[in-house]
């Protein structure tokens, strides 16, 4: 028990106590309003310009608030939402296939392995239909049928076709829609946009979030920005693993600094691993690329039976191959759920049967599909994915089996928020992947885009208005002692990073952090492994602060300094990730504890002990974090062991 302390339970007190279908209407009706004429006197900081942040900034500005918005990229259009491929769910029931708001709600709670808050998920499902309307009106070119109506497809084990898409670039198209809406407000003078500017810390005055300290990445200048509320829309923390499908610069610093200032961090151990990524090709690997899971519909996954077999795959005869998914799961074969496919690949590689560089890969073979369907049919269905694979690996998947390996690509955990999306720091709202709210322990495909846009366009704006209408805001300027202290702390931290002048690069620390987490807190987690990681991580953090080498100065463009600052936060977050994983002695969703599995290797939840969200209070760097449990109640979707058989 020594690795954490147990604090008081917490609860969401903002969702009204009425039947679930009426909660959002009632909450909005009870919310206080800000007179339209007064809104321009209120300013709101929005950090991040992805689907959640872009949508929120545009919407708040349209409503008349003065928005001060930030992104570290050179343009708000580049946020990592842009890389989402698959689609966006909405309960439109255009297919007349039995879909409904209730079914989307049900699927999401169940898919999240009963670790999400029902009220939030129901509202997400309710809001989903409006998102599609909004995006179509903005000119988002969703796929259409010949009759001119929107096309949909099914996705990720769900039995209805509720996923809207724009080829394999749905995230890009939705983000460009939000970016254009934001651009309109920038032009109108309602959004003050600061690109290439990164948040360094949150300013908390009298217990409320009142601003941020940020660094201009071009000049190095550190400035303060004051507002009535702060919205964090800074995405997930997948890059704590170094190698992930996240963008290279995606980071957790904004949410981690807010956590250090008092915002609870919920369920950090809920991380999602995608089974079909392109494996790493060597030590130079800087990130991983996802390929659509649809490949598993026709490809067969195998490894050589003999460990260490380095023959080229066409030299390995049929009886020396192990089609292990078909062997272990004869019912589902290659189409087992994501987490099972990922763990099975890891197990094979652990047995020494992995293929490719470092033995970290398994074959995904289309030879039989080409024989059965013909190359033309395979090309028609998967051509763009095969091209992508060829571009990255230089291998032709029509001739040689592809190699795949699982990779981190989404984090369900994040800052704890109530039904209003407000963190435990009043005035600090958290939206999109940065919060923990809607996906429980596992996110379903095509639900990330839905949540980002629901939060940004429809959920945050009325709740933020309620907060502003319910509070008085004294004038704060840069001379306020809290502001000055926060700036001094942020500046001191950068100065310290620059002054170490050690012998190891930032990336070498980040890689080592990633390896520890991937090995001990990745696809399968054990008490021994987690304890080992928790022994090593504080040493690594101390070594970082003793021997990192950051060249250059803080008063100019310095990408090494940017990275060092982010990695210093990842090092602390990595410890909390392992603490959370160690304390949760059950398996659920993306969190698999080897001690808690069924005889056939499936995840086994422990609802009696763990049907709660774990909200962690910061216990100091290297200190002991404090656990606050939010018990989860399932009044509508009844607790049951997930079963996709």
């Amino acid at each position: 028990m020594s690795f954490y302390k147990l604090g008081d339970d917490i609860a969401d007190t903002t969702a009204p106590d009425v039947p679930i279908e009426q909660r959002w209407d009632k909450r909005r009706f009870d919310a206080k309003l800000v007179n339209p004429a007064n809104r321009r006197r209120h300013s709101v900081i929005v950090v991040g310009t992805g689907l959640a942040g872009g949508a929120a900034g545009a919407t708040l500005a349209e409503q008349g608030y003065h928005v001060i918005q930030f992104c570290y990229q050179d343009s708000p259009r580049r946020a990592h939402s842009i890389a989402a491929q698959g689609g966006i769910n909405a309960a439109k029931n255009y297919r007349n296939d039995g879909d409904s708001v209730y079914r989307l709600f049900y699927d999401t709670v169940k898919g999240g392995d009963f670790r999400a808050r029902e009220s939030n998920v129901y509202r997400l499902a309710q809001t989903s239909t409006q998102i599609i309307d909004q995006c179509v009106a903005q000119g988002v070119p969703f796929a259409r049928e010949y009759g001119g109506l929107l096309d949909t497809r099914s996705f990720g084990g769900v039995q209805v076709a509720r996923t809207f898409y724009a080829r394999g670039q749905t995230g890009q198209q939705l983000l460009i829609g939000a970016y254009q809406a934001l651009s309109r407000q920038i032009d109108a003078g309602n959004v003050e946009m600061h690109a290439r500017t990164e948040m360094l810390d949150l300013i908390v005055i009298d217990g409320r979030a009142r601003g941020i300290v940020a660094r201009d990445l071009i000049t190095g200048e550190i400035s303060t920005y004051i507002a009535d509320a702060v919205v964090l829309a800074t995405g997930g923390y997948g890059n704590v693993f170094y190698l992930s499908t996240n963008a290279k610069n995606s980071n957790a610093s904004a949410i981690w600094r807010a956590h250090r200032r008092g915002a609870y961090f919920a369920n950090p151990c809920y991380t999602q691993i995608h089974p079909t990524c392109i494996p790493r090709s060597g030590d130079h690997q800087s990130k991983l690329t996802l390929m659509s899971e649809s490949l598993r519909n026709d490809g067969r996954i195998w490894v050589p039976k003999n460990p260490g077999d380095t023959r080229s795959p066409d030299q390995i005869p049929e009886d020396e191959r192990d089609y292990y998914l078909e062997r272990i799961y004869p019912g589902f074969g290659n189409l087992v759920p994501r987490d099972i496919a990922s763990r099975a690949a890891k197990n094979q590689c652990d047995l020494g049967r992995g293929v490719g560089p470092g033995g970290l890969g398994v074959f995904l073979d289309f030879a039989d599909a080409i024989k059965r369907m013909g190359e033309a049919a395979v090309r028609e269905k998967y051509g763009n994915l095969f091209e992508m694979y060829d571009r990255i690996t230089g291998e032709d998947p029509y001739k040689v089996p592809m190699r795949i390996y699982p990779a981190i690509h989404y984090t369900m955990g994040g800052l704890w928020v109530d039904y209003d999306l407000q963190s435990t720091i009043p005035g600090c709202f958290v939206i999109g992947e940065a919060n923990f709210s809607d996906h429980g322990a596992n996110r379903l495909g095509a639900s990330a885009l839905m949540q980002g846009l629901a939060d940004g366009y429809f959920v945050l704006p009325p709740m933020l208005g309620n907060y502003i209408a319910s509070n008085k805001f004294d004038k704060v300027d840069a001379s306020h002692p809290e502001v000055a202290a926060t700036v001094a702390e942020a500046t001191g931290r950068l100065d310290r990073l620059l002054s170490i002048d050690g012998v190891r690069t930032v990336d070498s620390f980040h890689r080592e952090l990633g390896e520890i987490l991937w090995d001990e807190c990745g696809m399968a987690r054990s008490e021994d492994g987690l304890r080992k990681a928790l022994g090593r991580l504080p040493e690594l953090r101390e070594e970082f602060w003793r021997s990192v080498k950051v060249p250059g100065t803080g008063a100019s463009l310095n990408q090494s300094l940017e990275r060092a600052n982010r990695v210093s936060d990842f090092l602390e977050l990595g410890e909390l990730l392992c603490v959370d994983a160690l304390h949760r002695e059950e398996s659920c969703g993306g969190h698999f504890r080897v001690e808690s599995q069924t005889p056939d290797g499936e995840a086994r939840r422990d609802d009696d002990r763990f049907a709660y969200a774990a909200a962690w209070e910061f216990g100091g760097t290297g200190g002991t974090p404090i656990l606050h449990r939010e018990p989860l109640e399932f009044d509508y979707v009844h607790l049951a062991q997930r079963n996709y058989a």
């Binding site: 009106a137 903005q138 571009r391 990336d507 060249p551």
Partner: protein, 248 residues
């Protein structure tokens, strides 16, 4: 593989720049081009030299952050490929590779290979949107859009705003970028009410940002990693003429 990289080094916008040669004796054919720069930067850092600054983020060809001129070609030798998706195996052992930033009057160099592309954002801000405030949208199926029109809109909406078209153009024109947005939004029924003002405002902003004129050399579409067709420029010209003549 052994490669020689001749890289444009420039400490700041007002500083003079020059090409500096670096040897990378241990390049791996499976590295991406940006990983090659990463490896060089790790070495420079440990040697106490300033690492090379370059823009990058998603490293999967969709965010539009990266982009350098490689041996005179924007995004390098491979068609329909961003710099981050280019791999070292596209080069031969012993090659000397010139790496420069986007060159254009409208894109000032910030440092080394990083340029200021904010002019492209200001073109979009001038009217590259459909005015549809949140909450005001009608039911999505109330306006069917014929598939060919939806496909044209999509093809143009795939622009990633990287600026390769500008860098490749001998005139430094942003016509392909601007035309992609005009074609995307003006094709759609939802974009019709602002059709005339949109094209006029975008072209005015494009000129004000200092981008050059178009002389139909077609270098832009060759360099475009997303294959935005030259036809889009014809559409822009047609839309512009139509709007200038005051036709609705």
């Amino acid at each position: 593989m052994k490669l020689t990289l001749r890289i444009w080094r420039q400490a700041g916008p007002a500083e003079p720049g020059r090409m500096v040669a670096y040897e990378v004796p241990d390049a791996n054919p499976d590295m991406s081009f940006l990983e090659l720069l990463d490896v060089l930067n790790e070495r420079l850092t440990l040697e106490g030299e300033d690492p090379v600054t370059f823009d990058h983020d998603c490293r999967e060809g969709i965010c539009g952050s990266c982009g350098v001129v490689i041996n005179g070609q924007a995004h390098g030798p491979r068609a329909l490929t961003t710099t981050c998706q280019l791999h070292v195996r596209s080069f031969a052992d012993g090659d000397v590779i010139d790496i420069e930033p986007w060159r254009s009057v409208a894109f000032g160099v910030l440092k080394d290979l990083m340029v200021d592309r904010s002019g492209l954002d200001r073109i979009i801000q001038a009217g590259g949107y459909i005015s549809a405030p949140t909450g005001s949208a009608p039911e999505a199926h109330s306006t069917p859009v014929p598939k060919p029109i939806a496909d044209t809109a999509f093809d143009n909406a795939t622009c990633i705003g990287c600026g390769a078209c500008v860098a490749a153009c001998p005139n430094g024109s942003a016509m392909l970028f601007t035309s992609a947005k005009v074609t995307h939004l003006n094709s759609l029924p939802q974009g019709a009410p602002e059709r005339a003002s949109r094209v006029l405002n975008l072209v005015e902003a494009m000129d004000a940002e200092g981008f050059g004129g178009c002389t139909n050399t077609g270098e832009c579409t060759n360099a475009c990693p997303k294959g935005i067709p030259l036809d889009s420029i014809a559409t822009l010209n047609r839309e512009y003429l139509r709007a200038s003549l005051g036709r609705k």
